[in-house]
Structure formats: structure tokens, C-alpha cells
């Protein structure tokens, strides 16, 4: 708190000299362009907690500077749309939270065409020729303590659960990935969602809202992402986490090089670093699930089953899929 007060005071005094105070603003505008060869700009939607340590480590190792713009996917899209209409993408590296968004950037010829040499260490289902997945979100099941733990996804449609919470796929890309996987799997299909709805399941907004609702006892169980679930559980929330059969749905966050920065060695080095073992370790310690096999991340039960949605199909079917889904769970 003392630091805050001190900063207040010093800034406050500066602010009193109003005309002078305008000067730093003007200086800022010349400094912000980042024309320095040793500095790159990173656009990402990855949480501050995960991205800051990796930037710090990269800056310490390489001596280069990483300028960060971090915002939720929606704001990131708006910023990029604005950039494109005022002189082009300002980022050298884009690190998205889901393959769907990244594929959109590739289709607009903004990023892609290059992956680092060490990308081949990453499992095939987490990369394309244009981008490589560096972190994963696992869509898992949670239950309130005292309720029976579901062992498979289909348990959630059974008689034990009459109030299940699930995240909105128009809000959370992880929920969209899960929707895509269920839709593609003949054993589930959209009928899975229809049965959930008939049994009294409710759609909330984000995966975090699912965790909150289940922890508060509003819902018996829910579908959410593993990070959020374990964070709440470790802090003492009365919930349990399960990786139901046939598997938790893996949604990867890919990183890609901007087309306009194809020559930037710093940008390439940064991507190579995030994909590398040491980069993945930093990421894992910061609370994200790494994609590189053998690197430890947050909690994963032994032999936890994992399934992978087919992203090209989801990209193609997105609108129809969401329309069908919204016939079940409103809009």
C-alpha cells in the first residue's frame, strides 16, 4: 500500500504542473513506435500471469525488448481490425487463445507461413504449417463436494444431475471447442446438449462462472476449464475436478509470426523460445498447461484421458453449429 501512496504523491506533484505534464505525453508518442531493431511487439490474449514471466525470461536471456499488448480475444480482434486500417498490423508476434481466432488471422494473410524448427517437438494435433500451439486449455468436469463425481461425459446426462452448468460457446472459445468435439463424436452429437437441457442444465457465460456457480452450490456439476477449476479448488472451494471419459477436450493456444515481420530474428527467436523446453517450463510454472510432452504444468491426474477436436471442421461449420446449438440453449 505504501508504494501506491508514494506513486500517488509523486505523480500528483507532477500533475500540478499541467503544461509541463503534457510534455511527457508528447515524448511518449515518439517512443511508442518501437522502431528499435531489438524490440518486438506481442499481441496476445493469454493471461498476464502466464505471459509476464516468459517475457521477463526472454528479455533477460536475449537482451531484446518485448512490448506487450494483452487483451481479451474480442478486444484483440478490434485492435487488429483498427491496425489494419491505419497502416497495418503493429504486432510482430501474435499469441492467440484458440486455433479458430488464429486461423482467421491466417486467412487474412496477417500471420503464418513460418514455424520454428523445434515446432516438430510439439504433438501434431497442436500445430499447422502456419502456427504452433504452446499452451493448452483442458475442458473438464467439476462437481460440488457431496455430489457423485461423474466419470464420463455421458454421466452428466444421467439421473444423478438435474442442475449442470455449462459455458457459452459464443463467449468462450474453449466451450466452442468442446461443442465441436461433441458434435463430431457420433456417440454424443448435439443430442448430448439436448439431453442436458431437458435434464435442467443451464448455460452461464464463462468457464469461470461455471466454477463460481458450482462452488456456491447453485449447480451440482459443470463443464469448465481445468486451470480455473484447480485454482478455485486449491484456494479452498468445495469442488472436485474430473477428467471424464473418453477425455478432457484439449483446446490449444497457438503462436504465430506476423507476415510483415518475416525477417525479424528477434520475433523468430521469441517464438522459438516459447516453444523450447525452457520456455515451456516457465509457462508451466506460471500455471498454464504446456504442449511440449514431458514438461510439467498444473495438476493432471495420472493417465488422464484427453481428446482433440478437429479444428478445420469447426472453422468451417462454426456458424451452422452455433445456430443449431442455440436452438437448444437459447441465444
Amino acid at each position: 500500500m505504501k508504494a501506491v501512496t508514494r506513486a500517488w504523491l509523486s505523480r500528483g506533484r507532477l500533475a500540478l504542473l499541467l503544461p509541463l505534464a503534457l510534455l511527457p505525453l508528447a515524448c511518449d508518442s515518439s517512443a511508442g513506435s518501437g522502431s528499435d531493431a531489438d524490440s518486438i511487439t506481442l499481441y496476445t490474449c493469454v493471461s498476464d500471469e502466464s505471459v509476464q514471466p516468459i517475457i521477463e525470461q526472454f528479455e533477460a536471456d536475449s537482451g531484446a525488448e518485448v512490448n506487450l499488448f494483452r487483451a481479451p480475444t474480442g478486444d484483440l480482434n478490434a485492435r487488429i481490425a483498427g491496425d489494419l486500417r491505419s497502416g497495418g498490423l503493429k504486432a510482430d508476434v501474435v499469441w492467440a487463445c484458440d486455433p479458430l481466432t488464429m486461423q482467421g488471422y491466417v486467412d487474412q494473410d496477417l500471420v503464418g507461413g513460418w514455424t520454428p524448427d523445434n515446432a516438430t517437438d510439439i504433438p501434431k494435433q497442436f500445430r499447422t504449417e502456419d502456427y504452433v500451439g504452446v499452451a493448452v486449455l483442458y475442458v473438464v468436469g467439476i462437481y460440488r463436494n457431496g455430489e457423485p463425481p461423474p466419470t464420463s461425459w455421458s454421466d452428466l446426462t444421467g439421473p444423478d444431475y438435474n442442475s449442470v452448468a455449462l459455458p457459452d460457446p459464443t463467449v468462450a472459445a474453449s466451450a466452442l471447442g468442446a461443442l465441436g468435439w461433441f458434435d463430431q463424436n457420433p456417440e454424443y452429437g448435439l443430442d448430448f446438449y439436448a439431453t442436458l437441457q431437458e435434464n435442467g442444465a443451464e448455460q452461464v457465460s464463462t468457464p469461470d462462472d461455471v466454477v463460481t456457480g458450482v462452488a456456491q452450490g447453485v449447480y451440482q456439476a459443470g463443464i469448465t476449464i481445468a486451470n480455473s477449476a484447480y485454482l478455485a479448488k486449491d484456494a479452498g472451494s468445495p469442488i472436485g475436478v474430473v477428467w471424464p471419459e473418453p477425455g478432457a477436450v484439449a483446446v490449444y493456444g497457438p503462436i504465430a509470426l506476423a507476415n510483415d515481420s518475416a525477417d525479424s530474428t528477434v520475433a523468430q527467436d521469441f517464438i522459438t523460445y516459447v516453444v523450447s523446453e525452457s520456455g515451456q517450463q516457465v509457462l508451466g510454472e506460471a500455471g498454464s498447461y504446456p504442449t511440449l510432452p514431458g514438461v510439467e504444468g498444473p495438476e493432471v491426474p495420472a493417465d488422464a484421458p484427453v481428446v482433440y477436436p478437429d479444428w478445420p471442421t469447426i472453422t468451417e461449420d462454426k456458424d451452422a453449429l452455433l445456430a443449431d446449438y442455440q436452438k437448444i440453449f437459447g441465444g
Binding site: 505523480r11 478490434a78 497502416g87 466454477v211
Partner: protein, 558 residues
Amino acid sequence: MPSRSAGLGRRSGVLAVGVVIALLVVFPVIRLGYVVWTEGSGHLDEVFSEPALAEAVANTLLLAVAVTVVAVPLGAAVALGLRRTDVPGRRWWRFSMLLPVLVPQFVLGYSWTQAYARAGFTDTVFGLPWPSVLGPWGVWAVLVVNTVPLTYLLTAVGLATRAEPDLERAARASGAGAVAVLRDVTLPLLRPSIAAASVLSFVLTLESFAIPQVMGTPAGFSTVTTTIYRDLSLGSDPLSFVEAITLALLLVAITVIVVVPTDLWLGPRLRVNRVADSAGAPVVNPRGAGGRWIAAGLGAYLLVGVVVPLVALVTTAVTPAVGVSPTPANWTLDNFSAVINSRTADALGRSALLALIAATLLTVLGGCLAVLERGRAGRAMASLVTITLVLPGSTLAVALLIAYGRWIGGTLTLILLAYLAKLWAFAHRPISGALDRLPPGELQAARASGAGSLTAVRTVALRPLAPALVAAWLVCFVTALHEVTMSSLLYGPGSETLAVVVLNSAELGRVGLTAALSVLLTLVMLVPALPAWLLIRWLRSPRRAGDAAPVGRLSHAG
């Protein structure tokens, strides 16, 4: 009779303000329109034929009407009620009526859900949940709570400047009852202020985003602004961007339809020439126990609207995890220590500096516009500025980014421009309302009596305007300090504002952290608000009013 040089001065004033408006508002919006025109032609019928859009537009309009018809009478009732001297703690109530504005919108919405939703505060403590707090009813209730202070403020300024205590006393002396005086004297005089408050309330509801997003979206209740946000979030293809801009321009069109006719009607009525009354708000003589009832009503409003939600928020902030019972044994300050760090402190300093500059420039800009508004060109500009207020923050930010990002992208300067464009109307409307008390004759009288032009402006104009100027400054400062949408889109390396840091941390998905940050943000609002409020009180105090009284008498002579 205005001299030729005065006319010239006015013309160059119109020109100068016109240039600023063109740069801040007209050019960026035209750039947006151009994007829709070039990239969206051929797809627009697709955008408009979507059934979800019709629903969002209907929801938005209904919400704006529903909020306005409740918030405006409530605000007016509070302003009238607080004229009575028998309300216990009258001065305190005047300050605390502004509390809901000091709480950032998303914090207010969020804390309402913490307070009243299922498994919320009232549910755990009293077993009394209000499940529809998530959905249209909750959005409506919180927007009303958030709007009443503004309608109160506008009506109170109107009362201070327009109400004629002599007329009221004359009516009472002639045997009219309290109701008749209210109906036949006070309310007709207040009509322009009430109309201005209605426009502001309607427009602010149209553009409100945080509250519908936090409380409406989870229940499937969508408005135009939340639809815009969803369009931007879902998929990165260019068409959804064009769709979002189109919706924003649609919102502008709705505003034009509402604001322009009202401004045309209001314009001439704002130009009332009458004797200045420096004595401030007239006092109504108390009768019966009404005062205590008014205090009780205000207390209930603040309790339900702000206090209980904030208590729930603090409870969440000191609880280590969701679902852990919020008993004192479990309390922890971990959430607070996690969010207070050097980045928060830097951002706080930056935000304070930015808000300070923005509020100061805005007060000047708002004052200029209010002065010019007495002419036709000025009224057109005032309408334009009000229209900018309704542009959703995300859209205005993108417009400015497209217009100027090439040169000043990622800098505090661009964020400052966004604040100026967005909040100009906030500064302009209160000053414009207060300017009534300055009949042009007074300035001329002061000049004729030998005062220099600077002295005349200082002694005649600034004194009575001071409370409105400080109020405008305060509203702008507070709003700029907790602005989220635009700054989080426009910031760059080294220009993160406090709200950006808050938003980034809030996304970590820990309810306790979000609550702790919200508590801090609210406290930050109170720090500058308190001295500013004391300043307003000092400016309005009888001693200073007496100071200005000779000038008032002077105008009688002129």
C-alpha cells in the same frame, strides 16, 4: 446590442470549437462510415436481417425508455426533497446521492450479482435471493440506481438556477397548496432541466455496456452494445468487424433521432434572460414529518443500491475462495496483496494524470460549447457532441485508432483524445444548464460600470458558474479515471491505465481478486471526490454568495 467585434469573436470561437469537433468526432466517425461503405456493401442486408439484431435493438430501446421514465422522476423528486431544511443530514445526503456514480459501472453491476443473485450475500445471510438480478430486471434496476444521481444533479442545478422562490412564495401567499405550487410553478420552470436529464438518461442507457454485459449476457439478455462486443469477440474475420461497426452506427442513428429534435426544442428554452439569483437553491419551509420520510427513502435507496452490494463485494474480496463461508475466521487480505504491486501503482499514477488533464481540458471545452450554444451553429455542435457520447467505447476507440493510429497509436495522447471525444457531453451539459443564470445584460452592466473585460468575466461569470464548472470537472475526472473499454483497446507499451491493469488481472478468473481490485478502484474514486465536493460546498456557501450579491444588484440597475 452586441458590437461587431463581439460577433467576430463569436465567429472565431465557433470556428475553433468546430475544428476541435471535426478532429475529435466528425472525421473519425466518417472514417468508420467509409469502412462500412467500402467493405460492407453487399453484406449489409445480411447484417440487418439477423433476428437476434432486431431483438437486441428492441431490448435496448425498451431499456432506455424504462430507465428514463423511472430515473428522471426519481432524480427530480430527490432534488425537490433535498430543498427542505427539515431533512436530517441534508448536506450529507447531497454528497452521498453521488455515491452510485463514483462506483465504476462494472463494479456496481458485479457487486449487485454478488449481493442479490442465488448464493449471493442476501441468500447466504437472510435466505433471500433475487434470482432475476441476472437478466433484464437486474440490468434495469442497476441502470436506474446508476442514473438517478445524474438526473438528480441536473435537476438540482436547474432548481438552483431556474426556480423562482419569489414566485413560489407568491403562489403560497395567494393560497395555493404545496401540490399546486409544484405543479403550476416549480415543475414548469424545471421543464428544460428535466428534458435535458431525460435526454442524458436515455442516451447513457443506449450506450451502457458494462452493466448489461455483466448482468444481462449470462441470462441471454442482449443489447446493441453487448451484441457489438460479441461480434468482435467471435471470430476474427473482417465481416464481423464490419457488422460491429454497422451496429454502432445504428446506435448513432437512433440517438440522432432522439437528440436532435430535443435539442431543437430545448435550445431556445435554455436562453432565458432573467435576473441572476446568487442565493443558490431556494429553501422550502418544512411542514410535518416529511423530512424524515425523505431521509428514510434516500437511506433505503442507498442501502439497497450501493451499500449492500458494496458490503457483498468486500466480503467476496476477503474470502479466500468461492464457496468458503464468509465468516471472520476465514477472512484474508491475500487478494489485496496480490493486486497491489508496482504495476498497479504506475498505472494508477498514469490514470490520475490522464484524468486530470482530460477533466481540465474537458471543462474548458464544455464551457466553450455552452457559451456558443446560444447560436444555431453552437447548438448543432452541441448535438454532435451528445451523439459522440452514445458511440460505444469500443467503436469510438477503433474509429480513433483508424483515424490517427498511424501516428500516435499506443500512446497516452490517443487515449486522451478518446476521453475528450467521449466525455465532452458530460462536461458540456451541466455547464450549459448553469449558464442560464447569466443574462447577457450583467456582463454589459459590469463593463459599463468600469470593469475591465477580464474582471467582468471573473466577477460576473465565473462566480455563479463555479459550482457547475467544478461539478463538470469532477464528473469528467471520475469517469476518465475508471474508463475501461477505450483504454484497454488503445493502450500500448508504457501507457496502461489503471482500468487496463484491473481488467487484465480480473481475467485471471479468480472472483476474490476481481472483488479486491473493484474495492480498490472504488476507493480510488473516493479520494479525489471528497476534496472536490468540499470545494463545491465552499463555493456555494452563503459567505461567498453574499460576496457576489452586489453584482446581482448591479444587473437590476442595468
